[in-house]
């Protein structure tokens, strides 16, 4: 057991004119060194906020974040800067995540300059190494982001995140803006880098086929809460939470002989602003009854498989 990141009861609320927006509500997990935790969910479920809160782009409202066993929850100033060098992020949008007025070279160089650990010649050398590592041609060194395609831009974003040799990287939908043929190039690169450098990833995405490919463990989020958490294999073989099942069945399969039996969800999505204590999926859940309006607890149904659903015992028998 060598956890790099341990998150306990993490909460992130935003104040909005209509009340408290529960973006991340009571999330707990650990990620072992060199492994990948996939976080899946639909837009607005708080998966991006979760990643950003862990690396301190947002301040957490409650809960604890441990990095290599050290509490980094409320760090400020110099300590925060030190911790951040170990935790980096790769962004979703390869268009807005690079400064349009900076060359590729100066974008990759910037973290090295800001850290003040290196001399000029070390920075030159490291920038070169990073460009080779992520596969960017030397001739693009002085190019501007708008001259590059999405895949290459994303490589620049990866090089920038790797510059300070972090241990933990939040990948926030890094391939969802890319075409499939380019997406595969970037996913392979991320996997290669993980193997070579022993990186630990938290991989946020809405694409189930991508998350299945890259993750060791998966958290399924719905409106700020983790509704199911288990190993990647287990999730796809034995999904238990009604939401996970609906999510999996909704993915259009490319196998035309086996069209999936879809569980079409009805009802409207509950608002994450001042939510009621019960199950947040209840309004769309085909199995919901009065019990679901009570506070839901996360339970371990089999070793390493956690589900947040009070009616699991009753309804799982109806699954086939």
């Amino acid at each position: 057991m060598n956890p790099v990141i341990e998150v306990t009861n993490l909460k992130k609320y935003f104040t909005t004119p209509r009340g408290m927006l529960h973006a991340v509500d009571d999330v707990t997990f650990t990620i072992e060194r060199g492994r990948t935790l996939g976080v899946v969910g639909e837009s607005g479920c708080g998966k991006s906020t979760l990643g950003r809160t862990i690396i301190h782009l947002h301040e957490s409202t409650e809960g604890q974040i441990l990095l290599n066993g050290k509490d980094v929850t409320n760090l400020k100033g110099k300590d925060l800067r030190q911790a951040r060098e170990k935790m980096q992020i790769i962004f979703q949008d390869p268009y807005s995540s690079l400064d349009p007025r900076k060359t590729i070279d100066s974008t990759i160089r910037e973290p090295l300059i800001v850290s003040r650990h290196f001399t000029k010649s070390q920075i030159d050398q490291k920038t070169q190494e990073l460009m080779d590592l992520v596969g960017i041609d030397e001739r693009l060194r002085k190019a501007y982001p708008h001259e590059l395609d999405g895949g290459r831009r994303q490589r620049v974003g990866i090089a920038r995140a790797l510059a300070l040799e972090p241990e933990f990287i939040v990948c926030d939908e890094p391939v969802s803006a890319l075409d499939v043929s380019i997406q595969a190039q970037v996913l392979n690169l991320l996997k290669k880098l993980q193997k070579e450098k022993g990186l630990t990833y938290m991989f946020v995405t809405h694409d189930m086929s991508v998350v299945r490919h890259i993750s060791d463990d998966i958290c399924v989020m719905y409106l700020g809460q983790v509704v199911e958490k288990c190993s990647s294999k287990e999730l796809f073989q034995n999904p238990l939470h009604p939401y996970t099942r609906a999510l999996l069945s909704a993915i259009p399969s490319t196998d035309i002989d086996k069209p999936n039996k879809r569980e079409i969800l009805r009802g409207e999505i509950t608002s994450p602003v001042n939510p009621k204590p019960g199950c947040r999926f209840a309004a769309r859940c085909p199995y919901a009854n009065e019990e679901c309006l009570k506070l839901q607890k996360q339970e371990e149904v089999s070793p390493g498989h956690f589900v947040r659903c009070c009616r699991l015992q009753e309804i799982s028998s109806s699954y086939n």
Partner: protein, 289 residues
């Protein structure tokens, strides 16, 4: 069409802008007029045929002629020399006042735009108060308090440009701040100062340049206006507005006293506006194709 082609066009800031501008004939005309005026203003002491304050009473109200291209004024001073020399004052007042005003305005706007919240609120309300006073009135009040003179006019005019610039930069910053590259800069430990100066301002600067160019034109007319009512630069300094002001009592018998300084102001303002329009198009990446 997509930009995903990997097809590279080199972009070196200034060169690209000039290339874009060169397609716009009106803007190039503005640039040519303005550069000519600035060069003439700089060389004015060497090329003017007469001293601008030399009074030749025999030539009072002389009509334009080969000896005096623009004629002479009520004290027999050569108007051509005075207009040429006056360019030094009028244009420099415009440029310096806008430069000072922009520098202060940008600093205030950057602070308000980046930090937001209470800081933003307080700054913006103060600017609201300043903007609630009509521009010309504000300038008259400040000039009246400071008194007339070249530098005092510059100060009065620069105070007037601050709030517009501050608002513009703040609005730009609020928009740019939403981009992920700002979060990326935070995540690699950039200080707030570095984020503002190295990332935000370079991305907000284009509209500021355009606005400043147009601002110079506006400031020149305002300076002329102040001189006209006797608050700006004082005679015998041949500032264009002051010349107009002095000439207005003779407008019936010798209209050429009004024509030439008036024309100088009009041409300069037109040139600056053409240039500003051209810059707006050249600096806007959306209009690049």
């Amino acid at each position: 069409m997509p930009k995903t082609t990997g097809h590279a066009k080199k972009q070196g800031g200034f060169a690209t802008v000039m290339k874009q501008m060169s397609k716009n004939k009106a803007a190039m005309l503005g640039l040519v007029i303005l550069s000519t005026e600035i060069i003439l203003a700089i060389l004015a002491p060497y090329i003017i045929p007469y001293d601008y304050s030399f009074m030749d009473m025999t030539n009072m109200f002389a009509k334009p002629s080969a000896a005096h291209f623009f004629g002479c004024d009520d004290m027999g001073r050569d108007i051509f020399s005075r207009v040429l020399f006056g360019a030094r004052y009028s244009i420099s007042i415009g440029i310096i006042a806008v430069a000072i005003g922009s520098a202060i305005g940008c600093t205030i706007g950057a602070i308000a735009g980046y930090f937001g919240g209470q800081v933003d609120n307080i700054i913006m309300r103060l600017l609201d108060i300043i903007q609630a006073i009509p521009g010309m009135l504000l300038m008259i009040v400040i000039s009246a308090v400071l008194g007339p003179g070249y530098f005092k006019t510059i100060i009065a005019l620069s105070i007037g440009t601050i709030s517009g610039m501050a608002r513009l930069l703040r609005a730009q910053m609020l928009k740019e701040r939403e981009n992920e590259y700002i979060e990326a800069a935070q995540s690699i430990n950039c200080s707030k100062f570095r984020i503002i100066t190295s990332h935000l301002i370079p991305n907000c600067i284009s509209p500021m340049i355009v606005s400043a160019t147009m601002g110079v034109a506006q400031t020149i007319t305002l300076a002329a206006g102040l001189s006209f009512i006797g608050l700006g630069v004082q005679p015998p300094i041949p500032e264009w507005g002051a010349m107009l002001s002095a000439a207005r009592q003779f407008i019936r018998q010798a209209p050429h006293l009004v024509y030439f300084p008036g024309l100088a102001i009009a041409v300069t303002v037109l040139a600056l506006n053409l240039l500003g329009d051209g810059l707006r198009d050249a600096l806007d990446p959306k209009l690049k194709n």
